[in-house]
């Protein structure tokens, strides 16, 4: 970790967003993770994304479990709401908060241990319920806090720092999320902010469950030859299926594009996901084609990244439960305490 706080001084040309905040206003405390940790790049991308979509910091709710990744909500958007849950139990806590206060933007940050090992059950159920959230897995394929054991997402055949080989099959969180019905699924790499920042922006503005599996090399325990989650390996095997720009309702469309097929997807909140295809045969609105493509590429040892699937008009848990428009925690006594006549009416229904 670093001993001094990051100086408040910033570049004189630093821009402000619609709320008058600079990107620096979305920062958190200084990271206590190892120098060079991929997670810090993801935090920086979250900061950038929140700044760019003009998110008011107090409208964000950050959730995490246990692990290196789960420390990171302390390192971005300090004024936001936050909850650091028990190991692997973050999805339930987030679900509960979301039920009570649906007017916030929900961001869960977790790691491969917190999500794919101890928290796998919780993860699966939050996804299949369609909780309206962005769930980022900072996936380094290793238990960094306990000094480098294989995690559940370590690829079969990959090597630990001291040379031991992983004999177990890996859990592919992207494929799992697709099977479980997530409506916005992407994979990215902490070392590629050009790809990651738009994916986070799109996810935060998506209604429904957005899962981002972000490969984030562990510089201390998983950045060696033989690892499949190292900077070098990921850069060599990265197969991006598309490049995305997120156009928020407010921001003008000014970007220039190189030739390539463009596809625009309008999301629920009016934001437009503008996708430029890099792979000709990839359709990111077809869940089953995505699954098959991913299985195929995974067998070849390729790491497929980009926006892999999106269902722009998805519904969420509140739609399923048919809750009222108002956030439940804002309901007044008058709405929450029905008169005796209402009880009588219900009882009549059972007679």
């Amino acid at each position: 970790m670093t001993y001094i706080a990051k100086p408040k001084l910033h570049h004189p040309s630093l821009e402000k967003n619609a709320h008058g905040y600079t990107r620096r206003d979305y920062e958190g405390r200084i990271s206590t993770l190892c120098a060079g940790c991929g997670h810090d790049s993801i935090s920086a991308s979250i900061i950038q994304a929140c700044f760019e979509i003009d998110l008011e910091p107090h409208r964000l709710a950050k959730f995490s479990g246990i692990g290196c990744s789960s420390k990171t909500p302390d390192y971005f958007v300090s004024p936001a709401h936050g909850f650091n849950a028990v190991h692997g139990r973050m999805p339930s806590v987030l679900t509960g908060a979301n039920i009570a206060a649906k007017d916030l933007i929900y961001l869960g940050v977790s790691g491969d241990g917190d999500t794919a090992s101890i928290g796998l059950g919780q993860f699966a159920h939050a996804v299949r319920r369609g909780v309206n959230m962005t769930y980022i897995v900072e996936n380094n394929g290793v238990y960094g806090l306990t000094k480098g054991q294989f995690s559940a997402t370590s690829d079969k055949g990959s090597k630990a720092k001291k040379g031991a080989e992983n004999k177990d099959s890996a859990i592919d969180l992207v494929m799992l999320a697709l099977q479980l019905g997530a409506t916005y699924v992407g994979r990215s790499f902490s070392g590629d902010k050009h790809q990651l920042v738009p994916l986070i922006k799109g996810a935060l503005s998506h209604k429904g469950t957005a899962i981002l599996d972000v490969i984030s090399p562990c510089v201390a325990f998983n950045n060696h030859v033989g690892s499949t989650k190292s900077f070098d390996y990921v850069r060599e095997h990265n197969e991006a299926v598309n490049r995305m720009d997120v156009i928020t309702p407010r921001a003008p469309i000014t970007a220039e594009y190189a030739p390539g097929e463009l596809k625009e997807v309008r999301q629920h909140d009016g934001s437009i996901l503008r996708l430029r295809k890099l792979e000709d045969d990839y359709d990111s609105t077809d869940r089953y084609a995505a699954l098959s493509y991913l299985a195929h590429k995974s067998a070849q040892g390729e790491i497929v990244t980009g926006l892999l699937f999106v269902e722009p008009d998805a519904s969420d848990l509140h739609d399923s439960l048919n809750t009222v428009d108002c956030a439940l925690n804002k309901l007044e006594d008058a709405e929450l305490v029905p008169p005796p006549s209402a009880l009588a009416k219900i009882n009549d229904g059972f007679r």
């Binding site: 670093t2 100086p7 408040k8 004189p12």
Partner: protein, 612 residues
């Protein structure tokens, strides 16, 4: 862009904006750190070696370093009034608190080398030449028309800005090397002088003649119309101790500011400065104008003096023509507005409208070339004239500048004289002494204080006006005390502690990019400089500031760092997992007389890390 060659001393020297801007290239951040560390004597000696007159310059320097200071740019858009570090006044903190330093001065030459050098004039340039040459064994003779050494430092700078004790002390540090002094001796013929057979002659006679406006009525009112610098030196020598109640100072330079403030102390109650041009175009430094206004002296602009009015041989006032800027054939020019002239009543006028060189004592038939302004032709690098053993420096070389330029000229001339006297070509200059050293002390420990202070510039405490305006000898600035000095020193960004990047060790994890508070660092595809500058993480619009480029990264991208507003906080190096970034202190000492070419070669070059 091509990768930056950081072995070229100029690259990192330029990053140390203050040192680069200083004519004498004083290693500013190093002595500021020593001040913060309360090592005042060491801080003083760095200054003494580089600029010879730390106590004097710490009060009077024109401070070319301060407008260049990175702190001013860094505070832009985040402080109400972005301000540089008070470099000049920190120098004074070192001088005020240094204690005994005689034992730190270089020893007197034990063996004379048999060469005789004459310095004509005993101002800052000549004294610098003498100081540089005396310890090497030269027999240096100093000539001056005045009774004491110091030149314009002693005659023209008012005592309320610079007490005479400071001049005596710092001139004394040079006179202790026992030059042969010929004070009270005016040289009136260079021809005769050269016939005395000197090995080398240095001319440091300054710009001793104040410009005269010669307006109608001046002759008649001559008793009350004075030339600024002559009047100031008469005040310094206590020939003059009062002035009329109503004083008009003509001119907008620093001499005008000294004149008006001195007048206020000699009985002037209604003192005005009247300037031909606008306020912003005045030659006086911003802080000198501020100090004058602070003492209740109005500065009136756009008035051109036309005529002196007088009655019975006594000055009664001045007529002025109103001026404004106009476009004449594409050039901005000051022209009369055509409005009726205005009259200001006064008892005395001080003319401070510029200074000139005067060389009536140099014969034009002895082989020295003069240019169209009747100035001797002097090589700007070697300070050598057409007579090979005659060298120039200070205001005598290229017209009126300031003390720090005179010192820089003196060093250069001394190097040339030393080379010349040893039969070497003065144009082949020994390179500067450069060293780079990592400041890494531990995991996140550095040999410098990398926690950047957010304080705004501290004001120098002043003596209350009631006291200051009563006596011309009361020094008006009290100077920073050690605590204020420490706080102001902490504002320094340590720009000499350089960010050195080793591409071979970099794994492109982006940690430095994410942590950099000023968005200086970008990893991107290479391109032409103009285009590259537009697509960095923060636009690099200041073209005077270099981009630090390194290639050789695994992805084929380059590392581009905009030096412009780097805080030198070292966070890039703290967050770097592989040591690809290191904070290395750059120290450059300019060549001085006696530097051997082989000894001056870089002691230590930047050290690069390799891949783990």
């Amino acid at each position: 862009m091509k990768p930056t060659d950081i072995r070229d001393p100029n690259y990192f020297h330029k990053v140390v904006d203050c040192q680069w801007a200083c004519p004498a290239h004083t290693p500013v951040p190093e002595y500021i750190r020593l001040i913060a560390d309360q090592r005042y004597a060491d801080a003083y000696m760095i200054n003494w070696k580089s600029n010879v007159f730390p106590g004097i310059l710490g009060r009077t320097c024109d401070r070319p370093c301060e407008p260049a200071c990175r702190r001013g740019r860094v505070e832009e858009a985040q402080q109400e009034k972005p301000e540089p570090v008070a470099i000049c006044r920190l120098k004074r903190v070192a001088a005020d608190n240094k204690g005994e330093i005689e034992n730190l001065l270089p020893p007197l030459a034990v063996k004379k080398n048999g060469k005789r050098v004459a310095c004509i004039g005993a101002g800052p340039a000549s004294l610098t030449v003498a100081r540089d040459l005396l310890p090497l064994g030269y027999e240096v003779h100093i000539f001056d028309a005045e009774k004491k050494a110091g030149g314009m430092i002693r005659t023209q700078i008012p005592r309320f800005r610079l007490p005479e004790s400071v001049i005596d002390e710092e001139v004394g540090y040079i006179l202790r090397y026992e030059p042969v002094t010929h004070f009270g001796t005016r040289i009136d013929s260079l021809k005769k002088f050269l016939a005395e057979g000197w090995d080398a002659v240095f001319v440091g006679t300054g710009a001793p003649r104040g410009r005269d406006l010669d307006l109608p009525g001046q002759k008649e009112a001559s008793k009350n119309v004075h030339i600024g610098i002559d009047w100031l030196s008469s005040v310094s020598f206590e020939h003059i101790d009062k002035i009329g109640k109503r004083v008009i100072v003509l001119g907008g330079g620093n001499t005008a500011m000294d004149c008006c403030r001195t007048s206020r102390r000699l009985g002037g109650e209604d003192v005005k400065v009247i300037v031909r041009s606008g306020f912003d175009e005045m030659k006086a430094s911003a802080w000198e104008k501020e100090d004058a206004q602070h003492e209740g002296i109005p500065i009136i602009n756009f008035l051109n003096p036309r005529e002196f009015t007088h009655e019975n041989g006594k000055l009664t006032g001045v007529w002025f023509t109103k001026m404004h800027w106009a476009d004449e054939g594409g050039k901005r020019k000051l022209v009369p507005t055509g409005e009726p002239d205005v009259h200001f009543e006064c008892d005395d006028v001080l003319m401070a409208v510029g200074q000139e060189n005067a060389f009536p004592w140099i014969e034009r038939d002895i082989g020295m070339k003069f240019d169209k302004w009747d100035m001797p032709v002097v090589d700007p690098v070697t300070m050598q004239s057409d007579i090979k053993n005659v060298f120039f420096g200070g205001d005598a070389a290229f017209g009126p500048k300031n003390i720090i330029w005179a010192v820089a000229h003196g060093h250069d001339a001394a190097v040339s004289i030393d080379l010349f006297c040893n039969g070497q070509d003065a144009r082949v200059r020994p390179p500067p002494g450069v060293s780079m050293m990592s400041t890494k002390m531990g995991i996140h420990e550095w040999a410098y204080d990398n926690d950047v202070s957010l304080d705004i510039r501290y004001k120098v405490p002043m003596v209350e006006p009631e006291i200051a305006l009563r006596n011309v000898k009361v020094e008006v600035e009290k100077g920073f005390d050690p605590l204020l000095g420490y706080k102001e020193a902490q504002r320094c960004l340590n720009c000499d502690v350089q960010t050195v990047f080793s591409a071979g060790a970099c794994i492109e994890c982006d940690a430095c990019v994410d942590i950099c508070p000023m968005d200086c660092i970008t990893f991107t595809e290479n391109g032409e400089e103009a285009e590259l500058r537009t697509r960095l993480n923060a636009p690099a619009n200041d073209l005077t500031q270099d981009l630090y480029i390194q290639d050789g990264l695994k992805t084929g991208r380059i590392m581009a760092k905009d030096e412009d507003v780097c805080l030198h906080c070292g966070l890039c190096a703290e967050r770097c997992p592989t040591g690809a970034w290191d904070m290395q202190q750059f120290y450059l000492e300019v060549t001085q007389a006696g530097c051997k070419p082989q000894a001056a070669i870089a002691k230590r070059s930047p050290q690069l890390a390799s891949a783990k």
